[in-house]
């Protein structure tokens, strides 16, 4: 290896300075959120603002949790997210397999239709979806958020793209041995597809956990609300003086699981963005 020249090293230092400055701007709102979540109401309502709370008020978290039924919101969010994620992995991998490997009439047309729907904005779908939910009698239930989430054209597309890249040799050998399609899928394809399962799983988990618009339309009863709806309720319900310290505590608690998941699974997350980004 050649030693880096001085000018190159200078550019390196400059890059670091820029990267760190940007990093500070990016992280500041998060830091502010965390610090505010530990302040007293008095420390919140002062100007100029106090940066560090005198004493970390851990009790804010307990208080926020009790102010609204956050345990209920948490369970609801978890239920919805798990059902949707598992369901989507299942339906999308099956569909992806059919599109990638099996020959059946109308396949290309169907696939094209899937692709076409991927670009339809949600607001176009939401009005008829609302009416469908109403006719099912599912308004104001968790079903109305879970069931439409169980399939995804994008997820199917992602699965298909990945499966197309798997060499057929293994399957061909198994096929000669008289292996059924289900066994081919389950014993050969699924184990080879672990990375794309991870990618779609993380995407779906995060997307569903963060989902706000559709639940806002569907859910009214407090006991059926998910965490994002709960957070917004916090902001609007308590009228006189917004308890920002409690809202920040609740926000931190809602954001934390997602950030942890992202940091653990970021390799797969990044891969999902890049593949769907550059090929899509």
């Amino acid at each position: 290896m050649l030693k880096k020249s001085t000018s190159k090293r200078l550019v390196d230092y400059l890059s670091y300075i820029l990267l760190i400055l940007t990093g500070i701007v990016v992280i500041l709102p998060f830091v502010w959120m965390i610090l505010s979540s530990f302040k007293t109401a008095g420390e919140i309502w002062t100007f100029p603002p106090v940066f560090m709370p005198k004493k970390f008020q851990w009790s804010n978290y307990v208080e926020a949790w009790k102010a609204l039924p956050f345990d209920r919101f948490f369970i609801n969010s978890l239920l919805v997210t798990i059902f949707v994620t598992v369901g989507q992995l299942f339906t999308c991998s099956l569909g992806g397999y059919a599109f990638a490997r099996l020959r059946f009439p109308g396949k290309d047309k169907l696939f094209l239709m899937y692709l076409a729907t991927m670009m339809i904005p949600f607001p176009v779908l939401m009005i008829p979806l609302f009416i469908i939910m109403q006719s099912f009698g599912w308004i104001d239930t968790l079903k109305s958020i879970i069931v439409p989430g169980l399939f995804s054209a994008w997820g199917t597309f992602l699965m298909r793209q990945f499966m197309m890249g798997i060499p057929r040799t293994l399957e061909d050998a198994a096929k000669i041995d008289g292996c059924s399609y289900w066994r081919l899928y389950w014993k050969i394809i699924v184990p080879l597809c672990k990375p794309v399962f991870a990618t779609l799983g993380i995407f779906t988990f995060m997307g569903t956990w963060n989902q706000f618009f559709w639940p806002l339309i569907m859910i009214n009863t407090i006991s059926n609300k998910t965490l994002p709806l709960g957070l917004v309720m916090f902001q609007t319900r308590i009228a006189a003086e917004t308890p920002w310290h409690l809202i920040m505590a609740a926000s931190c608690a809602t954001v934390l699981p997602i950030i942890i998941l992202f940091i653990i699974g970021q390799k797969y997350y990044v891969k999902g963005i890049v593949t769907s980004g550059l090929k899509g």
Binding site: T22, G23, W32, T91, L94, M119, I127, I132, F151
Partner: protein, 301 residues
């Protein structure tokens, strides 16, 4: 003969398996995508408040739309948000990706850091930023005060509410675009830079003559996808301003929401939604045309 029979049987089996594997997915697709799409086309020709049965009104909704001043105003707001967000997001994202692409230490750390706003739920972010923008106690006006500027009333101000949401949008969106740029930058062969360096090109020349031209398909992709994303924004507008003050931050999607779920004008809401679809469709087609051209260029090289 036997082989032929075997083949036929297999083809039949494969067909059944194909539909079988696809069916859970396809049922969802039909009920939750296909039917709503068709239904929403029908809705645009009807008047319906959910209480009574829908009434066919022909092109009434479209002619109302053309005359609807609010629609044009909110269409403008939608573009204002997009035009405000995108250029800065793209430029910042490009430079960050460029810096990160110089094989320096800590790339993964910075990449993760910049990407955090993109994965964090918008609801929480919008709430935190509402607090940052608080006119009397917020951090923004505190910093501005330090610079000797009296900060505006941000989210309560007709002039400043939209820029405030735009600034947050840039902060949230940079990470995603940066990732795409980073992937794009990695496809540029190292030899190009080496050759340019031998020819005595400095870093600025290299950016202008190698990086920017070669990355242009990525840039274009980023611009189109972020535009499509930003004109569909809802959460931040709902949480930070409820479309106010007096409609200053009402976008098309918010207007659709109001028409459908506050005023129960389902037909009209569907018509506005259809306009949104037309815009997205135009952008997507543009993207396809130009990306095909790009594939061709790459093929020649």
């Amino acid at each position: 003969m036997k082989l032929m029979h075997f083949r036929l049987k297999n083809v039949q089996k494969e067909k059944i398996a194909g539909y079988g594997f696809l069916s859970p997915n396809l049922i969802g697709f039909i009920i939750f995508s296909l039917i709503p799409i068709i239904a929403s086309i029908f809705l645009t020709f009807s008047r319906w408040n959910l209480a009574s049965s829908p009434e066919f009104v022909g092109l009434q909704n479209f002619s109302n739309l053309l005359k609807d001043e609010l629609f044009w105003r909110y269409l403008w707001n939608t573009f204002y948000y997009a035009i405000g967000t995108i250029p800065l997001t793209v430029i910042l994202a490009f430079f960050l990706a460029y810096l990160l692409n110089r094989k320096i230490r800590g790339v993964v750390f910075f990449r993760t850091l910049y990407f955090l706003p993109s994965v964090t739920l918008l609801v929480a972010i919008a709430i935190v930023w509402s607090w940052l923008y608080n006119a009397d106690f917020g951090l923004f006006n505190f910093f501005l005060g330090k610079l000797g500027i009296t900060g505006p009333r941000w989210l309560q101000s007709k002039t400043w509410a939209m820029p405030a949401i735009i600034i947050m949008g840039i902060w949230k969106g940079v990470g995603y675009s940066m990732l795409i740029f980073l992937a794009g930058l990695q496809t540029i062969p190292e030899q190009y830079y080496e050759a340019a360096e031998i020819d005595g090109a400095n870093w600025w020349h290299r950016i202008i003559h190698i990086t920017i031209p070669l990355i242009s398909p990525t840039t274009f992709f980023v611009i189109v996808t972020t535009t499509i994303g930003s004109i569909q924004g809802f959460d931040q507008f709902y949480i930070m301003t409820r479309g106010g003050p007096s409609g200053a931050t009402t976008t098309l999607v918010y207007y659709i929401f109001q028409n459908a779920f506050e005023w129960f004008k389902m037909g009209y809401a569907a018509t506005v939604a259809m306009m949104l679809f037309v815009i997205v469709l135009a952008l997507t087609l543009l993207q396809w045309r130009l990306s095909n051209k790009w594939v061709f260029d790459m093929g020649v090289n």
